[in-house]
């Protein structure tokens, strides 16, 4: 297999192992044992959240091997960055991860700001934190509902949507959109908050805290859910290190790694918040870490609203749409809802960036699924897949 033809890297396809299915299935079934079933989960499957496809080899109900197949939602964002000015690329970021677009906004805008050395007014930094954390809550709530739906409980997702709608209403006041948000601008943000934003957010924080208690009683403490999740899909520090997993997956494994704390950006160093680590590296641990993060984010929003300074929300002479980046290289990371979002930006001083590499946390988190799903039941494999919190547009970019 290693004797690749160096001229055409894809020439292997002339040697299919079996003639059933497409090339991925053929390549996968080449190593299949006899008496097993090769099953394609997806790309249209209720629990793959979009268009992920996982080929699994089943012996009875046990998954012997699994291999995710990507690329059904690939949109070439990285190439698009090379033909658009940095400003024009901001709206793309909302489309990379539709659940936590603000963090991706931040990653790209922050990378350009670092490279160009732009100063962001302090009020804008606070607004960035507020919007990013509200959006993180929305993302985690959506994950919570979808995850419980993967486990067969259909109702919680609609409760989660109630809260998510409230957050969307709040974010819409400043960003103008509800899903594919492009709120950040080089040197600031696009709009200031108003009295209504503050009022709704202040109402929302105690409301969600109350609802979280309901979530706990309805779902977290539910014996069916606990027995579905406890001791399922353990992912220790070792596997996280080898696969580059970040975010709640790594934190559940017991390492309090969070870019907000480790490599601070924005005004996070001034804010006081806890980074959860543990309690267990199984699906239930990842579940608890995310719910804890919702509370953390609520605290951050509350603090940021209290400490919000006055001032402009955009620097003077903020870059326009035809702004050019200076030559140079930078790597900027932010903590998204799914893990470390990284932007590797290389510019040759031209109109458009020379290279923009997006590091999607879901991409790395998904890559460990093949190893984590070995030897588990099919239902557990679905639970593990759900506990990774995947957003397929982000995986495929």
């Amino acid at each position: 297999m290693n004797n690749l033809n160096f001229i055409n890297p894809f020439s292997v396809r002339e040697d299919p192992g079996s003639s059933v299915g497409d090339l991925y299935t053929q390549n996968f079934s080449r190593h299949a044992k006899t008496g097993t079933v090769i099953l394609n989960l997806g790309p249209q499957h209720p629990s793959t959240h979009g268009v992920l496809r996982v080929i699994v080899e089943l012996e009875g109900e046990y998954v012997i091997r699994a291999e995710p197949v990507l690329g059904y939602l690939h949109r070439m964002h990285e190439k698009m960055a090379e033909v658009k000015t940095p400003w024009q690329f901001i709206p793309n970021m909302g489309r990379v991860d539709y659940l936590h677009p603000v963090a991706w906004n931040w990653a790209q805008v922050g990378a350009c700001e670092r490279l160009a050395g732009l100063e962001v007014p302090e009020r804008a930094e606070y607004l960035r934190v507020i919007s990013c954390e509200l959006n993180r809550i929305a993302s985690h709530l959506m994950w919570w509902g979808a995850f419980v739906m993967d486990l067969g409980g259909v109702t919680p997702i609609l409760y989660a949507f109630e809260e998510r709608e409230k957050i969307n209403d709040i974010l819409q006041i400043i960003t103008g959109s509800r899903l594919t948000i492009s709120y950040f601008r080089f040197g600031g943000v696009s709009a200031d908050i108003d009295e209504r934003f503050v009022r709704l957010t202040r109402e929302f924080i105690p409301y969600l805290r109350e609802r979280l208690k309901m979530y706990k009683a309805l779902v977290t403490d539910n014996v069916i859910l606990r027995r579905r999740l406890e001791d399922i899909g353990p992912m220790g520090v070792d596997i996280c290190q080898r696969y580059g997993a970040t975010g709640p997956v790594l934190r559940a494994a017991g390492l309090p790694r969070d870019v907000r704390r480790d490599i601070p950006y924005g005004v996070y160093p001034k804010l006081d918040f806890a980074i959860p680590a543990g309690p267990s590296d199984d699906c239930f641990g990842r579940y608890l870490v995310r719910l804890f993060e919702v509370e953390t984010s609520l605290n951050i929003v509350e603090q940021a609203l209290n400490e919000l300074p006055d001032g402009p929300v955009k620097m003077d002479k903020a870059p326009k749409a035809n702004w050019k980046l200076p030559a140079g290289e930078t790597y900027f990371a932010v903590e998204g809802a799914r893990g470390q979002i990284g932007v590797h930006l290389v510019s040759d001083g031209g109109k458009t960036p020379y290279r923009l590499k997006l590091r999607a946390p879901s991409f790395c988190n998904l890559s460990l699924f093949a190893e984590a799903a070995k030897g588990v039941l099919l239902a557990d494999a679905i639970a593990i897949l759900g506990s990774l919190d995947l957003v397929i547009p982000e995986v495929d970019r």
Partner: protein, 323 residues
């Protein structure tokens, strides 16, 4: 039992009425279930078709009737078409011995419960035929699950019913109701709470309803054994699922909740009210809980329900013997 013309006519009329009941039940239950799901999830549910969406279920069934029959390639078409029919017709038979009212029984059989238990085992054959014949891996997995689940849950179900049969000393359903009184504390549920609980759990397992809907677990197996069915085939499975629910609810009412007897005025309405309350409970369960895993499902049955039901049976037997 004499097979005169009148009794034959009685059976035929009863069959027609039961078909009517099954269809009406499905229509009502679809609407009811969707509304319940809606209210639990804080949305109105069906709303647009007819006043408050009441005609929605009828429209949907018309749509199912009018749909093209889509047959996937490489199906074993005889079995593929047989399966939905097999799912539907045994259920029909099962309604015959149910006493809806004091004199409202299609066919009063002395061994009524035996008939029900024997024929309810047929339902699973349709599931396995559907899963096998439709040439689909999800279907096959769903069928395998359906078989082991329904075999497993039949046992505690029968055991819990046996305890009641010990008490009343009869297999005749009317007789069992007659043994109970009109007021709730005179019902068998007060004498046999454990049996009632076991029956309730195995009822959910036997009808493949959430949280025990493993054969059609949509997040794992897309739709399980009926993945490849559309149109009328799907409608028949659907119909038989609701009919099965209704049936086990009727059995539950007969055995534990005093059948047609109720406070103030006995009559068939009590049977229906109680049966639909149980159906409501099943629906409520579905929209509240996540699904159990398959090994857990079997563990609940073999490690807990079965020993408990045997224990219950022993105690009942001893108590009946002593008293």
């Amino acid at each position: 039992m004499d097979l005169s013309i009148t009794s034959l006519a009685q059976i035929i009329i009863a069959c027609l009425m039961v078909i009517g009941l099954m269809v009406a039940n499905a229509v009502v239950m679809v609407y009811f279930e969707r509304k319940t799901a809606g209210f639990i999830q804080r949305r109105p549910g069906p709303y647009e078709v007819g006043p408050r969406g009441t005609i929605q279920a009828i429209c949907d069934s018309m749509k199912l009737l009018g749909k093209q029959l889509f047959i996937p390639g490489n199906v074993d078409w005889l079995l593929y078409f047989l399966a939905p029919v097999l799912a539907f017709f045994p259920v029909l038979l099962l309604f015959l011995p149910i006493p809806f009212g004091k004199f409202l029984t299609a066919m009063s059989v002395d061994e009524g419960i035996l008939l029900i238990l024997a024929f309810s085992g047929l339902g699973v054959i349709s599931n396995i035929l559907a899963g096998w014949s439709s040439n689909n891996k999800y279907g096959l997995l769903g069928a395998a699950r359906a078989v082991s689940q329904s075999i497993a849950y039949e046992i505690p179900m029968i055991m819990s019913l046996l305890a009641v049969i010990f008490l009343s000393g009869s297999l005749n359903l009317s007789q069992i109701v007659e043994e109970q009184g009109s007021w709730p504390w005179q019902w068998n549920i007060c004498v046999q709470p454990l049996a009632f609980f076991i029956y309730l759990v195995s009822l959910v397992g036997e009808t493949n309803r959430a949280p025990f809907d493993l054969p059609e677990a949509e997040s794992e197996l897309t739709a399980g054994f009926h993945t490849e069915y559309s149109g009328m085939g799907f409608a028949l499975f659907f119909l038989s699922e609701y009919a099965n629910m209704l049936l086990v609810s009727f059995v539950c009412v007969t055995f534990f909740l005093g059948g047609w007897k109720g406070p103030f005025l006995d009559g068939f309405w009590w049977t229906f009210i109680k049966a639909y309350l149980i159906m409501m409970f099943i629906v409520w369960l579905r929209w509240t809980f996540p699904r159990v895993r398959f090994d857990q499902l079997l563990n609940i049955n073999w490690k807990w329900l079965l020993p408990l039901s045997i224990l219950n049976l022993w105690i009942t037997a001893i108590v009946v013997k002593l008293l």
